[in-house]
């Protein structure tokens, strides 16, 4: 019931905004809608916590500790992003980069995107999961090309084609999964239900699952931006409007990873932890290293952080691949804190770019002097992303590293190499933008600070203090994956 209302609200808001999206108070509508979903998701979360375990909405929807935490995260980030985009898009409009019609389109698509992601998280059915992933892609493709500049068109086209192809492979994997499941559970829709599959995962046929997982890995891996399937990601992030970049990196990647780890849980059931784990560890490490070294030579600020998203997705994938309670816990935590920190950083980045009228890092200087909130927001966000304690990302990386030292010590050096290079790149690029004297022609603006610092506070929390109920919450979430 609650689940349906949750989905209902977001689609309803999407429809409303499709009509009044260019109205003066459309942003407020957008915010309140997201806020409402957030509230509902909290209620849902408490229900789950109360009933201790999973709440089956209907045959098609279900909630457990894992996906509810992501649902809450999604609704929260969507709310903050809505708040941010209110200020941001108004400025864009004043700069004349978007018109009425596109504002309407933007707002509607934003909510539709949230809706798609919520379905993806809440659905019980792997087929529906696939469909909603595709839907989420399609909803954002046109947002990426919102500015209609050649670059944005190019980026959106690449995004559309590459993700389309990738997701098609995921569909083939799903077909194979269904094939394997059907022979255990019998034909019919129930054979794709996670709740059933996880029950019988041990009996699923290994050869088919092996094939299926390869396809699913490539498919959802493309969405998660794993190297070498990542090429759409930097373009899409750098060319779209910043709020969209924030939710793309903050949420969509997480959803893809979520799909991936669900599949892994199934495959492990029949193949044992080794197979899927090794593939994921491989992808994770490659992504981490490639992204880290690519960050060294970025010129565009949003591309820089796009690569850092690839890097962090790599870390999380590696963690899930490594398996084991510690690493998986680290992985889940990493997904959460990364999406918070990354979206916060993108907020500051967006304002920084607006202040200088460019995304070229060489032209962005003296943010702290120009606008302390933006400057410090960016600086702290980068410290969080670089894995400086006491921010939560350090915590998750600490967990992952310690697990690595225990399970596979020989993998620690490349992991650390990647982390170090990424650290160096981030600070090397960001420090000159933040510190020092103002750039010529920097104009002042009133930034939306609440989202940034709210996120940063939330990122800071787990590094210093993780409330007990949250802790066992995550532990239970981890249990689901094993």
């Amino acid at each position: 019931m609650i689940i349906l209302s949750l989905l209902g609200i977001s689609i309803l808001v999407a429809l409303i905004l499709a009509f009044v999206g260019d109205w003066k108070y459309a942003p407020e509508v957008n915010i309140s809608g997201s806020l409402l979903t957030f509230a509902v998701s909290l209620v849902l979360a408490f229900q789950v916590y109360g009933e201790g375990g999973s709440v089956a909405g209907s045959t098609y929807f279900f909630v457990d500790y894992l996906n509810i935490s992501l649902v809450v995260l999604t609704t929260l980030v969507s709310t903050t992003t809505a708040i941010f985009s209110r200020r941001y898009m108004r400025l864009e409009r004043e700069h004349g980069r978007v018109g009425h019609w596109r504002m309407r389109f933007y707002h509607a698509m934003f909510q539709l995107f949230i809706f798609a992601m919520l379905i993806a998280l809440l659905t019980n059915n792997f087929g529906v999961l696939w469909i909603s992933m595709e839907l989420a892609t399609l909803a954002t493709v046109l947002l990426v090309s919102l500015y209609r500049t050649p670059n944005s068109i190019e980026a959106a086209w690449k995004y559309f084609i590459l993700c389309g192809v990738g997701i098609a492979q995921a569909l083939f994997g799903t077909v194979l999964l269904y094939f394997a499941a059907e022979r255990v559970l019998g034909a019919g829709g129930d054979a794709l239900l996670w709740t059933n599959l996880s029950r019988v995962s041990a009996q699923l046929d290994p050869t088919v699952l092996r094939l299926a997982f390869v396809f699913l890995m490539v498919g959802y891996g493309t969405k998660a931006g794993l190297v070498p399937l990542h090429n759409w990601l930097p373009d899409a992030h750098s060319e779209g409007p910043t709020p969209i970049s924030a939710v793309l990196s903050g949420l969509l990647l997480n959803i893809a990873l979520y799909a991936l780890i669900r599949c892994k849980a199934l495959v492990d059931g029949s193949l044992g932890p080794g197979f899927a784990g090794n593939i994921m560890m491989g992808f994770g490490l490659i992504s981490l290293l490639t992204a880290a070294f690519s960050m060294l030579r970025q010129k565009d600020i949003k591309r820089l952080f796009a690569y850092s998203s690839i890097e962090h997705m790599g870390i999380a994938t590696f963690a899930f691949g490594l398996g084991g309670p510690l690493a998986t816990f680290g992985g889940v935590l990493h997904m959460l804190v990364h999406s918070l920190a990354k979206s916060a950083t993108f907020f500051s980045v967006g304002h920084a770019a607006q202040m200088h009228g460019t995304q070229e890092m060489a032209k962005i200087r003296g943010l702290i002097k120009g606008n302390p909130a933006v400057g410090w927001g960016l600086f702290l966000g980068v410290m969080a992303l670089a894995g400086m304690p006491p921010f939560g990302i350090f915590t998750s990386e600490f967990l992952i590293l310690t697990a690595t030292m225990k399970e596979a010590p020989w993998l620690a050096p490349p992991l650390l190499l990647g982390l170090t290079v990424a650290f160096a790149a981030l600070f090397f690029k960001v420090q000159p933008m933040v510190a020092g004297g103002k750039a010529p022609g920097q104009q002042a603006l009133t930034a939306a600070n609440i989202p940034v610092f709210l996120h940063l506070a939330l990122v800071l929390a787990p590094g210093v203090y993780l409330p007990v109920f949250l802790a066992d919450w995550f532990h239970l979430a981890v249990e689901i994956l094993r």
Binding site: R210, L211, V214, L229, T290, L296, R297, F394, K406
Partner: protein
């Protein structure tokens, strides 16, 4: 709640933390912000000193577990003699530096945000206290990085200069690499301890863990690398001469005097507390690094003419000396000679404390000079002793102490280190018997060069005549808080130098904790006036008597000579009948160091060029001679250049993959699919 040392220590951590949160509120009223916050920080440091002193004195161990931290791994606190000792070191310097800052920060104009300084200074202090107090790997790393990050912001305080930003970045990068190495070291120990989950990550578990020799070596040397990166051990020292000069002087006093010491603390923890049993060659490696750092550090220092840069290189040198002591202690421990190990350890710790004091004093003095002259280049100074007598006198004490001249404190610890060296014949290893004394010779060289270097510093900066362009009359003595801060440091230098026996009997609980023996009763068996490390027949030194004797003779002669009437005539300098002498004709810092540069030039990347500038009308005799000298650190080109080049090369190669053409991207994903299918499907 009952006042125990641990509570005091926790208080001294909480005060700065709360201050860091509160300070921004007061950003309107600068003077209030300065006076209030820095006096509170001084108070916190004082409390820390008391807590540490009590702990070391009584040898108590107190632990506590906070409700913060990771689910499986709450923050553990532990205050044992070793930690207590470092609390004292940090606190003492923190006290002096905070009092000094009361005056020093007045000198900053509006363009630098005072709040930033206060906040990060407080965080820095708190971080250092926490490093000493932390008792589990996670908390230790949090504290460690808190310390690193806040000091990074402090180094970048005057961020409008690109050079400062570059220095700060270099510092942060190397510090972070070190932190990662330390994290790995913890990971190795905990991973091998066989404990589930987080259980292995408390220091208690690490004390109990028994590692195979290979893993133990891995853990120790990872940790050693990490801590060496922080301590600026050569060749990981490049950040130090960049970062310390550009930081505000009160901060560089803390960084150079205290922050480096936290890594000494870490090495002690790993070697003597966690691993305990190790082969002798570990000690030899530590000793070797110590010797190289000591000699190279002082040599590079001699070549500098930027006052603070020079002092920074001296920190490298002194860290080297401390490591020498530690290395000897490790060697003796590995051969089960606890008494000797205890002596070497005491020497190292004593020097840690001493160096904190005199290096802090010197940096504060340099800050005072900078504050008065706005000049860091010694070649532009001179004769300051007439303008700023207080600073001059106090700085002289610092110079004498760091040059290891009795009866000041630098001498005591270096003398103890020498004694430890002279004990090497007791080793059952003939090779070591022959080699270790050579190390002693290197240490002697270091000491003498340091003396030379500080004759240069003091002579060029404070003595002679003003070389600068601006009128020296504008230069004035610094304000009282700054003098007070320096005075405190100078006093402690003096006391530490004059009553070594008391200090050692106070320190005695630490070797008891780490080596299982005492030195105090043998050290002061002969009364508190005589310091006899092993036995009275072995070697003895009595600082009070030396002091009194010299003072007595000086007083007597002075009285005798001033009994008779004889006036003093002041005349201009005898110019040997040449034309008028100008201040530019004085010996400069560069020329002072020239003989040593000639003798040991092969150690530096020296580039000297002389150009004669001829007037147009008659090219026979040059009108001006230009002399350019560039002395650079070889290690930069040897170690660091290649790395960054390699990183960018790799980056470029990865960049080539991202080709821009969508069909290529499609090909990638297609190939990925095929490869996976071929090998796994």
């Amino acid at each position: 709640m009952v006042v125990s040392p641990l509570n005091l220590a926790v208080f001294s951590v909480l005060l700065p933390l709360t201050l860091a949160c509160m300070a921004p509120l007061a950003h309107r009223w600068r003077t209030i912000q300065i006076s209030l916050s820095f006096s509170l920080l001084a108070l916190a440091s004082l409390v820390a000193v008391i807590a540490g002193a009590l702990t070391v004195g009584e040898g108590t161990v107190a632990t506590a577990i906070l409700s913060l931290g990771l689910p499986g791994l709450p923050f553990h606190l532990r205050l044992d003699p070793l930690a207590g000792f470092f609390l004292v070191v940090i606190g003492l310097m923190g006290l002096c530096a905070s009092i000094y800052s009361l005056g020093y920060m007045q000198g900053y104009g509006k363009q630098h945000s005072l709040t930033r300084m206060v906040v990060f200074y407080a965080l820095f202090l708190a971080g250092m206290f926490l490093v000493a107090l932390a008792d589990d790997a996670y908390f230790f790393l949090v504290a460690w990085e808190l310390m690193a990050a806040s000091s990074y912001f402090l180094v970048m305080y005057e961020d409008d200069l690109a050079a400062n930003r570059a220095a700060a970045f270099l510092y942060l990068l190397i510090a972070h690499v070190g932190a990662i190495a330390i994290l790995l070291a913890f990971g190795v120990i905990a991973g091998q301890s066989g404990q589930e989950g987080f259980a292995g990550y408390t220091f208690a578990a690490m004390r109990g863990s028994h590692l195979s020799s290979g893993w133990a070596a891995a853990a120790f040397f990872l940790a050693f690398f990490g801590f060496a990166a922080k301590a600026g051990v050569i060749p990981l020292h490049v950040w130090l001469p960049e970062a310390h000069p550009v930081a505000p002087s009160n901060v560089s006093a803390l960084m150079s005097g205290v922050m480096l010491k936290t890594s000494i603390y870490g090495i002690c923890r790993f070697a003597f507390d966690f691993i305990k049993i190790f082969p002798w060659w570990w000690g030899v490696i530590v000793l070797a690094f110590g010797l190289v750092s000591a000699v190279m550090g002082v040599l590079y220092a001699l070549m500098q003419h930027d006052l603070k840069r020079l002092l920074a290189y001296h920190s490298v040198e002194n860290i080297g000396i401390i490591l020498i002591g530690l290395g000897l202690a490790m060697i003796f421990t590995s051969f089960h000679l606890p008494a000797l190990a205890a002596l070497a350890l005491i020497a190292a710790l004593y020097h840690t404390l001493n160096h904190a004091m005199f290096k802090g004093l010197l940096f504060m003095g340099a800050g005072a000079v900078l504050h008065a002259t706005h000049e860091r280049n010694m070649e532009e100074m001179g004769g300051l002793i007439h303008r700023m007598p207080w600073t001059a006198a106090l700085f002289l004490i610092g110079c004498v102490s760091i040059s290891a001249l009795p009866p000041f404190n630098g001498f005591v610890s270096e003398w103890l280190t020498f004694q430890a060296f002279l004990l090497s014949p007791a080793l059952p290893q003939p090779l070591l018997q022959l080699l270790i004394p050579l190390g002693a010779a290197l240490l002697a060289l270091t000491g003498a060069l340091a003396a030379a270097c500080f004759v240069k510093v003091y002579g060029v900066t404070f003595l002679g005549q003003w070389r600068g362009h601006q009128r020296p009359t504008q230069i004035h003595e610094v304000n009282w808080p700054m003098r007070l801060g320096m005075l405190l440091a100078a006093l402690s230098c003096f006391c530490l130098g004059v009553m070594p026996t008391l200090v050692i009997s106070w320190l005695d609980t630490i070797p008891a904790q780490l080596c299982g023996t005492h030195v105090a009763e043998s050290a002061s068996q002969f009364g508190w006036m005589w310091l006899t490390p092993i036995s009275e027949n072995r070697a003895s030194y009595s600082a009070p008597l030396v002091l009194l004797g010299i003072l007595a003779v000086v007083a007597v002669t002075w009285l005798l000579l001033h009994g008779r009437q004889s006036q003093i005539r002041r005349l201009p300098i005898w110019d040997c009948g040449f034309a008028k002498l100008t201040p530019r004709m004085q010996y400069t810092a560069t020329s002072f160091a020239m003989p040593i540069r000639r003798v040991l030039g092969f150690l530096f990347a020296v580039r000297e060029q002389i150009t004669l500038i001829y007037p147009l009308n008659h090219p026979a005799n040059p009108e001006r001679i230009q002399y350019r000298l560039r002395v650079r650190d070889r290690f930069w080109n040897w170690l660091y250049q290649p790395q960054s080049v390699a990183a960018y090369w790799v980056g470029r190669q990865f960049g080539k993959l991202q080709h821009g053409q969508i069909r290529v991207y499609l090909l990638y994903s297609f190939l990925t699919l095929l490869v996976l299918l071929v090998f796994l499907g």
